[in-house]
Structures are given as structure tokens and as C-alpha cells.
Amino acid sequence: MKRGKLFRGEGAMAASSGARSLRSGAVIGLAGLGAALAWIGAAPAGPTPAAQPGARPRRIVSLNLCADQYLLALADRDQIAGLTRNATDPDLSAAAKDARGLRILGQSAEEILEIQPDLIIGARSRRSPVLAALPAQDYRLVDLAWATSFAQIAAQTRQIADAVGHHGRGAALVARMERDLAGLPQPGKGRVAAYYQRRGYLTGTGTLVDDLMQRAGLVNLAGRLDKPALSRLSLEELVAARPDFIIVEAAAEKVSDQGTEMLQHPALRGVRRIVLPQAWTVCGGPAYVRAARSLVEQLGAS
């Protein structure tokens, strides 16, 4: 039921190439339209002007877990007409508590037809299977690119804030995040860390996780080994590479299947562990600050 979780791990080849194409998609989005802002009306071709301050959208639908986080941080609750099914899952959504009580959508186009949203936010929303099933209507769409750095998170925060009609909130949130991050030390001191996921997937450079590592002064093992954004590294290779730290996802610390069992293998017992909740790193969003702070604290303590 929650197989939509497979953003990064496990998808093997497909996910790996997906991660790369998502990244390049983000770059194109930024280069093309300033802050990756893309208003696409289905009937009138070309971008339509940004929302007027007086005309805040009142029925916003999110098609993407990351869009959920921004909406919950920036929009009024009564503006939100629908979030994705993982929005209330604390393992995946950093704003799960805030999402409670709001409407959670399935993957049916019918629900969207019924809501008649005046704004839809999603990743590559034009390719969304839900929207493809809808009859051509004049929905306003915002494409949310895949954030791989804090700079992109800041840009997206402003983008969504403008789209939902709360420009000031966006500016304030960005300022707060920048202030919090500026105060963080860099206890990593150039030591090597591996972001090691279940079943041996290694998160590479050009990702949000890599951005977090750099911020904490760590060097990503994947970069050292010249691996792509997502690769598979056997336990043997990891042991032989001798990273100073492995960063694992909090949910994977509990052995629930063979994929997580591997992360508890005795061969890893000598490597220091840093545990981060997946909810803070799976999406670019306000939780980035929490992830960075936790990483720095755990590094300082070790």
C-alpha cells in the first residue's frame, strides 16, 4: 500500500536513473523559469501570470509528498483541499502531525474532479497519471522540482508561498531557515560518511543528503568512490572502504525484513552510526534544518 515510498532505495536501476533525471529536470526548471515557477493552464497555452494578492487559491490540492510539506508550512489550513496519502505517515512526512485532520486523497482522478481545485501542486504534474485521467480543464498547476540543495529549497519555499498567496510567510520562513543554518558548526572536519540505505543502496553526490553532509563538513563516500546519485555497495565494499561514519535511516534501524537486517550485520559493528529520520531527508522542505541540526549534533557527540 505504501509502495509510493520508494523514492530512493530499492528501485534499483529505475530509481537510479530516475534520481538522475529528476536532478536534471530540476536544473532545467531553474534555468528555464527563474524560480522554477511554471503556471500551466491546460486550455490557454503558455504561462499565466502569478496569482493576484487578492485572489488567494481556496482549494489547493497536492499531488506530491514534498508539496504537502510546503503547503502545511505556508498555506492556511482552510486553503488545503487535499494532501497525498503519505502526508500523515510520521516515517515519511516531517509535518505528519500538522497534516492530521486534513483531507487525504487516494490516487483517483474522481476526487480531484469533485474538489474542483483552483491550484494543483505536484512534481512534474503534467505527467501525473491522476491528471492525465482528468478531462481537459483549466486547472492551475505548479511544478515542484526535486530539490537537491538548500538553495533550491529556499527557491521552492518562495515559489509555493507566492502560489498560495502568502508571499510574506515564504520570505520569513527562508530567513528563519538561513539564520538557523548559519549558526551551525562543521564538526565533520573532512571525515568520510556513507549514507547507507537498506539492502546496500548508497546515496551519492548531487543529492539533498550530500548537501547535508557538506554542510556538516563531511565527505560523501559515494563521491570518493565515484558512484552515481544512487548506487549499490555491498557490505564487503563498504567495510573495505572504511568510512568514518554510516548514516542510516531511523526506520531502518528496526530489523523488519532482510533489507534492514543487512544494516545490522556484525561486519558493520566497528563503524560509528548516525541516525536520521527519513522524513527529514526524503523531501526538500522546512525539515532540512532539523536534519542538518541533528546531523551536526550527532557528529559533535561522537
Partner: protein, 372 residues
């Protein structure tokens, strides 16, 4: 019992050894039958070099398994690690990763190979083996249910115990479906039914479990893998495989007698009810314990007895010990192949064994076609 079963003596002798000699139970009616009974308890039932040869190859394969892996280690470092004088990296790779993997492979292969040999003798069917008959998948279902619903944490023995019980349940269901039918077809069809049911059960259990990575895990359980095993897995598999194999090895006399049919076996003084319990629980315990740590690896028990049989007098019991060794050898070699074939994601063991096993299966299907 052998009603309407066409008998084609030369073909039967070739294809299935003496196991298909008409089970009339009347001594002397068939000359080969006489020869067989005299031969069975004779000492020279195997080629003199069979067991030493298997042990030798097993040692070589074990060395290969310890020496090969994604990280290149010089043989001297491997040896140093084994005697505890290596650097921490080599030590961790050889002792924590490669050694348990080798041991799990040996145990699983031994249980599956012997399980196949015993079932082929017991059921007088050259296609019988734990995975074809659904025992492996059912044991995997038991393990999956325990693991994915968090029940395995109760107690260390809970998961293998449930795997064994569900393997035993599958064998019971198989006998309910196939009954005492002498037709090899009925048994294999019943096996397919049980096996498919268990595979569907695994998928359903994984889909129902709160695990978001179910799709990937289903593959591991249905095709089998011994990657990243640790000594914790050796400790689960070792007692089960030891007990299961001991039970199966004691059944040699019974399955030899059974090659004369049930009446013939009874007339030789075999307690059929007792040997059935010993054999089926031996298979369930050995295979259940193995599958609980490796997933269901197919065809090992099918291939191995057919490979070693030409080096024996084709008596069912003569195949047992060689099948145990050859099973361990085959799985170790397959696991080396999995490591050497360059793939981006881990290759499952069941893929390799299926490529080896399906031709054996087809050969026998073609030979049996005329009966069906």
C-alpha cells in the same frame, strides 16, 4: 496400486533406475527385481571415487567461496584472516561476511540435495524434490509471516519452527491432494498447486505487512539469496539441517524397500507409517531450517540426485550421502557464480539453479510423456 500403469522395461530401467520395477511384491517374478534386492545391501553400491571426489571438490569450492568477492583479497590475507592475524578490514570481510555465507550455503545445499534424494526415493518419482513439491515455498511462507509481522522477535527459534511446521503442513496437504496415486503426474500437479498457493501466500503476506519494500522482498524469498548472512543465520540453520539430515539419512533402508512398492516394503518388514513420519519430518525440518535463512532456492534437490546417480548402483539409498555433499557443492558453486556474474543488483540464487535445473526437469518430462 500400479493399476493401468504401462510398463516399458528397458525405458524404465534407463530412466528411473530400478525404482520403477513393477511393484508386484512377488519375489522372483522379475529377474531384475531379484538382482536388485541382492544388490541393495551390497557394499560396493557407489563408485569408489564418488565420495572422496565430492569432498575434494567441496573443499576447492569452499576455498573459492572464501577467496572471491566484490573486494579483491590476496589469498595470503584470506588465510591470515582465518587464523586471526589479518588487518581489521580483511578480518571483517572474511570472518564476518564470507565465512557465514559459505557455511549457510553448505547447510542449505546439503538439506536441499538430500531432501531431493529422499523424496525421489520415497515417492518413487524422479521429479520429486522440495521446491517442486511446494515444501520450500511453504517453509518460506512461514518464515515470511513471522518476520514481516514482527513475530520473529518473540524467541530465536520461533521463525525456523514456524517454517518447519508450515513445510510439514505443505507435505501433508500434498499427500491429501495426491493421495496414494502412483502416477507421477498427479504428484507433480499437486506439488504445483501447493507451491503456487504458498507463493501467493508469500506475496499476500508481504502486501498486507506494513513493509513498504514488499516487492523487493518477495523476490528474495521466492528466488533465494544467501548474501549478507551472518553467524546468527548459521545458528538458526545448523541444528535444523543437522537433525533433518540425520532423520533423512536413517531412512535409507526404508526407501530401498519401498522401491519394491508398499506391499513389497511391508513384506521386507518395513514399518511404513513410521518411516513416512521420519522421512517427512526429516525433509520438513531440514528444508524448513534452510529456507528460513535463505529463501526458497529451487531445483537443487532435483538436479543433484540425477547427477550422482550414474556413479551409484541406482539404489535409492546409495544416492543419499552423495546427494547431501553434491547439494552443498552445487549451492556453493551457484553462490560463487552469483558473485562473478556482473549485475547491477544482486542476482538471486534461484535464478542460477533454475537455469541448471529446468533442463533436468524437461529431460524427465520428455521421458515421462508417454505415460501421461
Amino acid at each position: 496400486m500400479n493399476r493401468a500403469r504401462p510398463i516399458d522395461p528397458p525405458r524404465a530401467t534407463l530412466a528411473q533406475g530400478k525404482a520403477t520395477v513393477p511393484d508386484t511384491g512377488i519375489p522372483g517374478r522379475d529377474e531384475r527385481c531379484e538382482v536388485f534386492v541382492n544388490d541393495t545391501f551390497h557394499d560396493a553400491r557407489r563408485h569408489g571415487f564418488l565420495l572422496p571426489g565430492l569432498v575434494l571438490f567441496l573443499l576447492l569450492a569452499a576455498c573459492g567461496s572464501l577467496a572471491l568477492g566484490p573486494v579483491d583479497l590476496a589469498p595470503t590475507r584470506v588465510v591470515a584472516a582465518l587464523v586471526g592475524r589479518a588487518d581489521p578490514v580483511a578480518q571483517a570481510i572474511v570472518v564476518d561476511l564470507r565465512l557465514p555465507r559459505l557455511l549457510v550455503g553448505l547447510l542449505v545445499g546439503a538439506a536441499l540435495g538430500l531432501g531431493g534424494a529422499v523424496l525421489q526415493g520415497f515417492l518413487r518419482n524422479p521429479l520429486a524434490e522440495p521446491s517442486v513439491l511446494g515444501t520450500s515455498n511453504a517453509a518460506a511462507l512461514g518464515a515470511v509471516v513471522m518476520l514481516y509481522f514482527g513475530l520473529a522477535d518473540w524467541h530465536g527459534v520461533a521463525m525456523p519452527a514456524v517454517a518447519i511446521v508450515s513445510g510439514l503442513g505443505a507435505l501433508a496437504l500434498l499427500f491429501m491432494l495426491a493421495g496414494r496415486s502412483e502416477s507421477p503426474l498427479t504428484l507433480i500437479l499437486a506439488g504445483i498447486a501447493v507451491s503456487t498457493l504458498a507463493a501467493a501466500g508469500i506475496s499476500l503476506a508481504l502486501n498486507l505487512s506494513p513493509n513498504p519494500f514488499a516487492a523487493m522482498e518477495i523476490m528474495t524469498w521466492l528466488l533465494g539469496s544467501i548474501e549478507n548472512r551472518s553467524f546468527a543465520h548459521v545458528r538458526i540453520a545448523l541444528p535444523c539441517v543437522a537433525i533433518g539430515c540425520a532423520l533423512m539419512l536413517t531412512s535409507g533402508k526404508a526407501i530401498d524397500a519401498l522401491s519394491l512398492g508398499e506391499d513389497g516394503a511391508r513384506s521386507l518388514g518395513v514399518d511404513l507409517a513410521r518411516s513416512r513420519i521420519v522421512i517427512l519430518s526429516g525433509v520438513a525440518i531440514g528444508v524448513g531450517g534452510a529456507v528460513a535463512v535463505s529463501g526458497a532456492i529451487g531445483f537443487v534437490g532435483l538436479i543433484v540426485p540425477h547427477l550422482v546417480r550414474p556413479f551409484t548402483d541406482r539404489g535409492p539409498s546409495a544416492v543419499l550421502l552423495p546427494s547431501l555433499l553434491a547439494g552443498a557443492l552445487l549451492l556453493t558453486l551457484a553462490d560463487i557464480a552469483v558473485r562473478l556474474i556482473p549485475t547491477t543488483t544482486e542476482l538471486k540464487l534461484g535464478v542460477v539453479t533454475a537455469f541448471l535445473g529446468v533442463p533436468v526437469f524437461m529431460t524427465h518430462l520428455l521421458r515421462e510423456r508417454r505415460i501421461w
